[in-house]
């Protein structure tokens, strides 16, 4: 299988070319948000810390950067905890999420309805993923510490397509 290079923010045409199981290398801007940031964002959807249109959210809370490093360890956290919040963000134009593990039926349907994509990264590989992050900017919720929202500039970040815009699920494929 050929690895596809993709760029964030995502475009509708770009998303349509992605199929579940594809290996991709992602470059561009993505945003971190995990449990507490999702709770806060969805409390007031009119006042979000960044415009969601076309963007990708990475479910991660990195370790602090040691001196001389851009970021610490930065792998995916378990996605299902974000499931209750994801459909409302997709409705507002969010196009991609990155995490690990299966998603709920509601999220799968929302991904299909809003023509989005769910990428998976491998859990427990935070040191490896830190190598593909070129720049970080703290943009919101500073008080949340490791759960603050960071804007990340990534280059050739390796991912798998977990759920494509047609709603096909990599975890279901391996079960059948």
């Amino acid at each position: 299988m050929k690895t596809k290079r993709i760029f964030a923010p995502l475009t509708s045409e770009g998303i349509k070319k992605l199929e579940t199981g594809d290996e991709v290398l992602l470059s561009g801007i993505i945003y971190t948000a995990r449990d507490a940031a999702h709770q806060r964002m969805t409390k007031n959807l009119k006042k979000l810390p960044f415009d969601l249109k076309g963007q990708i959210i990475y479910y991660t809370g990195p370790t602090p950067p040691p001196p001389g490093k851009i970021i610490g360890s930065c792998g995916p956290t378990t996605s299902y905890r974000m499931d209750p919040y994801t459909p409302s963000l997709l409705k507002l134009g969010l196009k991609g999420t990155i995490g690990k593990g299966e998603r709920s039926q509601e999220v799968k349907e929302a991904i299909k309805r809003y023509s989005a994509v769910y990428f998976i990264a491998f859990g427990g590989c935070g040191a490896l993923y830190s190598q593909f992050i070129k720049k970080t900017t703290l943009i919101a919720y500073l008080d949340l510490g490791c759960e603050s929202i960071l804007k990340l500039e990534v280059e050739d970040f390796p991912l798998l397509v977990g759920i494509d815009a047609c709603g096909r699920d990599i975890y279901q494929q391996q079960k059948t």
Partner: protein, 289 residues
């Protein structure tokens, strides 16, 4: 009486926090490499990434995983050892200071919050401390790092006394199936059987400290139990690895790297069972002072 200073204990615990988070034990690496050799396709790709990650973490002195967990400190304190507390009020305060320094100086993530307000304690304390007094003049410190992607999948059940091995197996397999792709498989599984609910849970956690391949005395003075447990561990590992959850939940033969069981006598009316699940990165270190 042999003496040990507060500073010594603090420095050791601080170092153990950093080591546990940045290094994976050899027995686990061997087991991961063995699994990589057996797998094909995506399962192999996941295991290769995990092994590459371990190398990068060691080279770059970075934590293996961004979830640097909740620290659990097991202390075995010799009854003939005197601990010089210095300015500290208790041994527990010393341990917390060690964890605090380790997480701060090691650039580890501070993930501990008050449970209801969700306010972060900012230094990853409190660690959970489990202490026991033993004969001798040594201090044994074991540190287990528990990431919560896996901890969230832990389960306990008060089975019927007649549930037997079949009941224990069913409950374990069911817990692993429910955990599925979430806890970063391949998992390391600790099972506690017997005692009270609390005891079973403690045993399951302690079982995670066992080496992946271990030969140990399970229960002195009770012949037959050792081989019975060993057989149950092997059967469970085999059956779990037939579930096709696989590395990262993407299918394969390696759903678990190891299953370890610890038992304790229980009441005639019950059979408590606890299943503690660790991600592949079962991080623990120990030292004897």
């Amino acid at each position: 009486m042999r003496k040990i200073s507060a500073e010594k204990i603090i420095a050791v615990i601080s170092r153990l926090c950093i080591q546990s988070n940045c290094q994976i034990n050899e027995d686990l690496i061997t087991s991961l490499k063995h699994a990589r050799g057996k797998e094909q396709g995506r399962a192999r790709m996941v295991l290769a990434s995990i092994l590459k990650n371990i190398k990068i973490a060691q080279r770059e002195k970075l934590p293996v995983c961004q979830d640097t967990g909740m620290a659990i400190v097991f202390l075995e304190i010799g009854d003939k050892l005197k601990i010089d507390l210095g300015e500290f009020l208790s041994l527990s305060a010393l341990v917390q200071e060690g964890v605090r320094r380790g997480y701060q100086s090691g650039y580890l993530r501070k993930s501990i919050v008050e449970p209801l307000s969700r306010v972060n304690t900012e230094d990853n304390t409190p660690a959970i401390i489990r202490e026991k007094i033993v004969a001798g003049n040594r201090l044994k410190i074991k540190l287990l790092i528990k990431g919560f992607g896996a901890e969230n999948m832990a389960k306990t059940s008060m089975l019927r006394p007649d549930a037997g091995e079949a009941g224990i197996k069913r409950f374990t397999l069911d817990s692993v199936k429910k955990a599925g792709s979430h806890p970063c498989p391949p998992m390391v599984i600790g099972i506690g059987i017997g005692g009270t609910m609390q005891k079973a849970v403690s045993l399951a956690e302690e079982a995670l400290l066992e080496p992946v391949k271990s030969k140990r005395a399970y229960f002195r003075g009770c012949p037959g139990l050792k081989s019975k447990i060993k057989r149950l561990e092997e059967e469970l590992l085999r059956e779990i690895n037939q579930l096709n959850i696989g590395p990262a939940g993407l299918g394969g033969e390696t759903t678990a790297l190891s299953v370890k069981i610890k038992t304790f006598p229980t009441h005639i009316a019950g059979l408590p069972v606890a299943v503690n699940i660790s991600c592949w990165a079962n991080r623990h270190q120990e030292i004897i002072l």
